[in-house]
Point group: C2
Chain length 453, copies 2
């Protein structure tokens, strides 16, 4: 019997386990989980803290019972200490701190990521929190319940930072977001990010950009932040959301090669440089389909896909990761903000000759009530006319997420922008237009390129 | 100067005109419009009649002024009487019935379709209406205003029939739908159509299936319908919505060949058998991308695309129609019902070995409030594992329309169903799942095919 050991019980680890069992019901699958929360949706933490998800148990993608029914053995509260690749043994420590050895035939490392610790003094003060794990969220929750803070400051205006701004505003706190770049949500272009900034301000979230927080101090029961440009700000609660870093300590005990941004180097089978050891999810590199090279792009969707591929290969069913396009969406108050593929600057770095247009279009025929305006930015290569990327900002009920997915599917197939008009997309006046907004944008891009051929 | 004459001022005709002007600003473009309503959204008529669009003027895709500004000459209330292809002349009759001759270099026929007249006695009685043109809708509107009907009966449970059921129910009428098949909405499979039937009944629309209406009589100020299976029903107003037929009289004066279901035969350049004469929209055949043959599939989206291709070719810029996949969506009360590609029966006729699965999946993570259940049917070829078609039924705010478009884009590229899991689709808990519902369906289909490879 083949023994598959998986270190890590979040998205990638559990996806790998399920896929291996699906393909080979006889494989013996054990998942080592560092805490008591296997297969929890980390992406759901802001919605638990907002109160929209009252019971954190609901954040589990699957329950422990469901996982066991799928034939997966879970070792909860176990930590992997050391991998011995020659003997194919992993040293684990139990909750009681006792050590045990576990023999494997195939090993998948899915240790995920931890919050990045920016260079700010005072990160360990009471009232200063990161948000990455269930335990992190319990800490914040307890603070909210016991301390009754009336204001919160979020350091970092990325996905998690903005979701937390929305969440804490929903709880009635006065919220400030401090971002060191010139706009929040650096993952979209400035013109789109401004729309997001305006949405935050419309909900009275104070947005401070271009400021690098340097120090957090305690003064009475208040926290005082100071930073560049004479920034000074008093608050009750601080959330630090400045990105994540891959967790690779255990990988390094097996001398696995690290790659981009210190993530575990893998090939498209998600195999590391040591045969039979795979890595997947936020601890590993991600193959980018357009760039045709490894990047570090830790996302839940990617973790699921990579885990599934790793599980398939570990079970003896060769499969390659098709690659990421960096497709992402986030909801901030009433807006959905989505992107896929490359933006201008990224495309230039990759050697393309990008041309970008931005249009406004309606999600459906304006004569039918409730039409929402969509802002669409489209980037294509001026020479080959190939689609390179798209960004959409619009109301969260305007099918922004699945519209970006049309572009993502087009990108997957290296379509030209002109070909997008050839797509037979659905139409009814309450839900679309005869040329869907994604096609309207494509046609404007086409027109922007001089000379038709 | 090249003279382009276009007969027909609805979707296909206007799209052709705009595209020709866009590609060659020097081309002389004239559009002959049989009525005074160029470029009106026929698909919007039910929403005018429901009261959701209070002013019918809003149904215009573009105003007359906008069309003139685009450099397009409109001959309103002009009817084409005869085409002389050898002399390249079209005989037109003016509103005053005077005849005039118009020379063309290129001609596009976009005469659209008219309502099919089923074999029912009494179709011309007062209170019995078809719904296809602006004038049709004015007739119904006037009847609603002046006669104050309290009940309406719709013959035909297709797209227009169900939209009118929704519309007239919204006006407070008691509505009955009579459909001769066993389910309404024959364009989707029975299990999906039943969900639609349940939605109609939930709104107290009476649905009568398996009945062929044979006679309509007047009795006092009531209309009495009789039909098969001893059907008898009294009502105030009848809408007949049993499909459409291509308008080809003018095409036949030029001896243009007709094809499938009497529609004008065209190649993929939308050119007829007479060089320099094109046809597009509901009067013409449609190339089906999966079947690789002509079908008759009159849809607004297709009319726009075909018109654009015809306009491009007529202006001297060769382009081929990429083909239809039969992608459609309709909103009926709170449901959106969408399809693309082939269903089992259609796939079998086309020589495939279809395998179909049906699943339920949520539009987004259930822990986030407001999740809606989606019903997805997926058809693939058991031998090649190629995706052949998809159907989705779900709440109209559950991104059903744009999810079917992901499948449509996948179909366009002849993806296998397994490859759909490779697509990098967007995810955030309020809008999706790490594996989007479309991927969840794909994975169930994969599992249903025995043996993994």
């Amino acid at each position: 019997m083949t023994h598959l050991l998986i270190i890590g019980g979040s998205d990638a680890g559990i996806s790998a386990a399920l896929r291996a069992k699906e393909l080979d019901p006889n494989i013996d699958v054990t998942v080592v989980v560092a805490d008591s929360f296997p297969n929890y949706s980390i992406c759901g933490l802001p919605f638990f803290l907002s109160g929209e998800v009252p019971d954190w148990h609901d954040l589990a993608h699957r329950t422990e019972v469901e996982l066991k029914q799928a034939g997966i053995r879970l070792l909860l509260d176990h930590t992997a200490q050391q991998i011995h690749p020659t003997q194919k043994i992993v040293q684990l420590s139990e909750p009681t701190e006792r050590s045990l050895s576990f023999h494997y035939d195939r090993l998948i490392i899915a240790t995920g990521a931890i919050s990045a610790r920016p260079k700010i003094e005072g990160l360990d003060l009471p009232g200063v929190y990161f948000l990455r794990s269930m335990m992190d969220s319990f800490g914040i929750y307890q603070h909210l319940m016991q301390e009754n803070p009336t204001s919160a400051t979020i350091i970092g205006g990325g996905y998690v930072g903005l979701e937390m701004a929305d969440a804490l505003h929903r709880r009635g706190l006065e919220v400030t977001v401090v971002e060191h770049s010139e706009t929040v949500l650096k993952t979209v272009d400035a013109s789109m990010a401004w729309l997001v900034g305006a949405e935050l301000q419309r909900h009275r979230v104070d947005v401070v950009t271009g400021v690098k927080v340097e120090t957090i101090c305690t003064c009475g029961n208040k926290l005082i932040l100071t930073g560049s440009s004479h920034f000074q700000h008093t608050t009750d609660l601080v959330i630090v959301a400045t990105g994540v870093e891959p967790v690779t300590e255990i990988a390094q005990t097996a001398r696995l090669e690290l790659g981009v941004r210190g993530a575990i180097r893998v090939d498209r089978k998600m195999e590391t440089n040591v045969s039979g050891i795979y890595a997947a999810g936020d601890c590993a590199e991600t193959y980018h389909r357009i760039l045709d090279q490894a990047v570090y792009l830790p996302l839940g969707t990617t973790a699921h896909k990579q885990g599934r591929i790793a599980g398939s290969n570990a079970a003896g069913f060769p499969q390659e990761f098709a690659g990421s396009l960096g497709t992402q969406v986030v909801k901030v108050f009433d807006l959905a903000i989505a992107r896929t593929g490359l933006r201008d600057a990224e495309a230039i770095s990759a050697g393309f000759q990008p041309k970008t247009v931005e249009i406004e279009a309606w999600d459906h025929k304006t004569y039918y009530p409730g039409a929402h305006r969509l802002h669409i930015r489209l980037t294509g290569d001026a020479q080959t006319q190939r689609l390179l990327g798209a960004q959409i900002v619009g109301h969260h009920q305007a099918e922004v997420a699945k519209r970006i997915d049309i572009f993502a599917t087009a990108l997957f197939h290296e379509m030209t922008i002109a070909q997008i008009s050839d797509l037979d997309l659905s139409y009814t006046p309450p839900l679309s237009s005869p040329w869907d907004a994604v096609q309207a944008a494509s046609q404007v891009w086409e027109q922007s390129i001089s000379g038709f051929s």
